[in-house]
Structures are given as structure tokens and as C-alpha cells.
Symmetry: C2
Subunit: 322 residues, 2 copies
Amino acid sequence: VPSSRELELIQAIERVTESRDERLVRWIGDDAAVVRSRPFAVTSIDSVADGVHFELATHSPADVGWKALAQALSDIAAMGAEAGEAYVALALPREFEPEAVLELVGGMEELAAATATTIAGGDLIAAPALVVTVAVTGWADEEAQIVGRDGARPRDLVGVTGGLGASAAGLLALRGAAPPDEELIRRHRRPEPRLSAGRALAAAGASAMIDLSDGLATDAGHVARLSRVELRLSLGELPLSPGVAEAARAAGRDALELAATGGDDYELLVSFAPERRELAEEAAAAAGVPITWLGEVREGSGVALVGPDGAVRTGLHGFEHL
Amino acid sequence: VPSSRELELIQAIERVTESRDERLVRWIGDDAAVVRSRPFAVTSIDSVADGVHFELATHSPADVGWKALAQALSDIAAMGAEAGEAYVALALPREFEPEAVLELVGGMEELAAATATTIAGGDLIAAPALVVTVAVTGWADEEAQIVGRDGARPRDLVGVTGGLGASAAGLLALRGAAPPDEELIRRHRRPEPRLSAGRALAAAGASAMIDLSDGLATDAGHVARLSRVELRLSLGELPLSPGVAEAARAAGRDALELAATGGDDYELLVSFAPERRELAEEAAAAAGVPITWLGEVREGSGVALVGPDGAVRTGLHGFEHL
């Protein structure tokens, strides 16, 4: 039986990936990967498609691989779990050459190495368009470590890690709507999931947590809906990443709205009982990231985004996947 | 924040799916699903794409959903593990309407219900073509229960569950190359993963196991390669499914070659030490499926497919995903 193109490519992928997981009993090459478990498995699946979530004109295959894994790992971060294994399905158009596939997996492996994740299995298929799907399993030892979207309570403070708007501003720069800015473009192409911050904030007693993939306006809405509360957030408090104000101005956009609706920042939005405020700040600082308080949880529903003038801005919403 | 098309669809999907998993702590709707583990997690990921693995002209959306899950579950069966949770990523072209998405998930849910699997999470994205990716986690309590592709040893017997060729013959019928045959077409559209047989054969001491997704010729090659042995199999012993000989004749194809190279049968190819032959047969019978012995394992490499005339047939290989 002659080796197929698929088999050769899988074997090349085995050579560019590395198992950094003592718990892995079987990996790439068998029907399925086998992992010695920890008590709670935390699993998420995410896809990105050419022309929708990235464009091969502005993203290298390695950027695409990185981003696809980053997006899935960010969900694990938002649960407060530790990263474990990634399973990768690549739907490849004919013109996407084997070298590009290896470059894509290489970019994913770079982020895997940086986050102690192991690419443990995968599938390669032919398809009319490039679609990269990553399922990631993270692990936790106790149920109390895990933070959902549904635990925000009235009077809780709502905070966000890091800075907002960098990815959206980087995209403006890539499209020529704002001046080139290497750092913003890097943040767009190579977002970093907040795994340490997620674990630290969970351990500090976060009541709810979500990662900002679709943009604050949309993602805060998920917390409000599942927690059956209102999130009242001050746009004026949004921590703009460096360069975002300038990029927004150049593009004729409102910087605060750009930061509130731009997707792909992969920061964590988190709520805490007010008496845990200092614990939360210490936890974030220990994980090497600032936390900025944006507002609070109230009885009610939905998200109220309050402008610097005190008026609620309506009609703001984030990135739509469909 | 207005509900998005994605959110509405996810909520509709929540309504058509059901948790049948006491171990599930959190599911669809949060950043990730959370499952109370058993000692070994067995995970596989598989994609199918329109125009490559199915055609919407001959497969209903429900068939597509069923098939995508069946393919992933079949890998769990081939490890001897128990089905657990499925995570589903749907890349949807604009013209694939929400009703079709729900029908697709409904077909998947039908198979999930039949196999005690829970659809525990997912992602929906827009894409230029329909691609359905399913990651499935199965569970095992002991490492010894898990059977890989690498354990076949010289003198082992090689057997296969059930019948072969039904899916390939069903495809011939769908394409009009063979007369319509409802049962063959059903086997092509709604393959059934051999989960009980997989567990039973593993418990009976199978030395290696693989599911037949790409066709016997190709999949036996994976066992030979990873076990560093030769598999010598008699084409004349292949258990043709009812109707396959007739369909092959009508299409001007050799029935044995069709059964050896046709993909998507999702039967299990398994090896056993000769002294376990009866145990294997009892295990298969208890799981409600026949096992047919096709040949044996020898020192060497590759797969020798021996025709009824005693000559090795070369050049046979199965379905290529790329």
C-alpha cells in the first residue's frame, strides 16, 4: 500500500510537534489520543476560516495556526483551567501546499510550547476553503476552581485584564485605514491567551469570567444573560492599548467604541464580590497583567455601556461569527 | 446588545440536544464544557466537507450530522473506549439556512442518543463551504482496556467485524451506477460505529484494532506500519454485505476490490493471539456482530491482499482524504 499524501503530511506534522505532556499515553498516529486524566476535563472547540477570521493576504500560515490555537486556549483561560491537549482539524484547499500546512502547524506549535499545551491529535481533509478547527482540553483538580459565565451577582465589581482595542486597531493598520504599527499588528496576528491570569483570578474567587473574543459589548452580554443580571460598564474606564487612540483617530473611528466592539483581544472580563477587590488585583499583578475596574453588576438584564458624558450608548455590538 | 444570529442558533441547538451525561458539570453556553473525568480520556477529531465526504445533493443535513459524529465515534470504538462527549464545529456557507443547521444537529443528536453520547459544546462560523468537525472524548477506567494500532504480533489472527462494501456500494447506487438499494444507501448515509463490539473485543484481549474509515487496504496498512509487521489477508474471505456483489456487478466493478478499498464501512479490523480466537468470537457475538477471520500477521511490512487465485493483488488502496 503506497503512502498517501495525507500520511506523509501527518508524519511531517509529527516531526514538527512535540509532546510536553507526561500524562499523554498515546498521541498522533493512533485512532485517538489517550490522556491520563485529572479530575475535571474542560473542553472547548473553535474554528477560523479564511476570509472570515483572517485573510491569507495579511496572515502567514503560521499566524493562522497560532490564532486558531490562541482562540481555543482563551476559552480554557476563561474557565480558570490549565491548558492540556489540542486536537486540530485542517480543511485544506488544493492550492494550500504541504509547506504551508507545516508552517501553519509550526505557528500553532510555537504557541503550544509557550503555553505547555500538546498538540495530541488531528485530521486533515481536502475542502474548498481553509478552515482550521481546534478542540482544546484543559484540566482542573477541583470543581471550585472552575469559573463559569453565570455567577455574576448584584454589587459585584466588573474588571478586565490588560488592554483593549489592539487587535481591532491592528486590523485597521493592516487594511491601510490607520498608519502601520508593528505592535498593534502583532497583537492582531498573534493574540496571547491569558492562561496564568485566568487561573489566578479563578483562585482569587472570581464569580464569573469570559474571554473577550467577540468584543466587550457582545461578551459582557453573555455574562449578563447567563447570570440574569445587568452589567453597567463605563466606556471612559476602558483601558485602551497603546496606539489604539491614534489608530482610531486616523481611521475616523471613536476609540472607545472600537475598543468596546473590536473582537480578538482575548483579554478576560471578570466579576468579583466587592470585598475581593484587592485579592483580585494582587492575583492579576502576580500573573503579570493589570486589571481595570469598568463598573458593576446590578439587578436587571443586558449590558449598559455608559459614555464619558453619562449617557448609555446603544447599538454597540461586537464581532459576529455568522 | 441585540441577540446575534449565532446566539439565536446556539439557543435553538440547545433545545434540540440533550445531556445524557451525569458527569457533565457545565455544557453548551459557557466558554467550555466541564466533565467529571474517568481515569483515561480518549479523544479524536474528524472533519467532513461538502463535495469531498458527502454531497448535499444526495445527503440530507441530518445525514451529514449523523455521519460526522459516526466517524469520530468510530475512532473511540477502535480504541475500546466508551463514548462520552462530542464537541461540534460547524463552518456554514451563507446559503445553509438555520433550519438546515438544526436538521444537521438533529441528525447528530439521533446518533448521540443511540450511543449515549452528549453533544457538550460547539462553535458556529461562517465559511465559504460546509465543513463539519467533531471532536469526541471517550473514557476508559484502565490503561489495559485501551487498544492501539501498534500491538499486532506475528502469528496473530486478523479479523473484521460485520460486513464490508455496503457504503461503497450504496454510493454507487446513489450515483446511479448500480440499481437503487435502500439498505446499501442507508449504510452509506447512516453508518453505525461499532462501540459495543470495540469494547467487547478490547476486553477479550485484542492486540491491535483500527476502524475501517478509509478502506481495508489503507487502514490495514496503518496497523502494519505501526506494529512493524506484515498483514497477510485473503480477499476471498472478505465478508461482503448483502447486495454488494450485485451492485459491483452492475457497476462493472470487482466486488472484492470494492469491499477492500471502499471507505466508510466503520467496521473494526482487529488482531488476536491465536489462542484467543474463541474468546474473540464470543465477545463479538455478545456484542451482536459477527467476526470473520481474514488472515494473519507475519514478520515483515505492509499489507498483502491475496486474491482467491492465490496471487497478491497490488495497487489497491482506499479512500484518500487529501
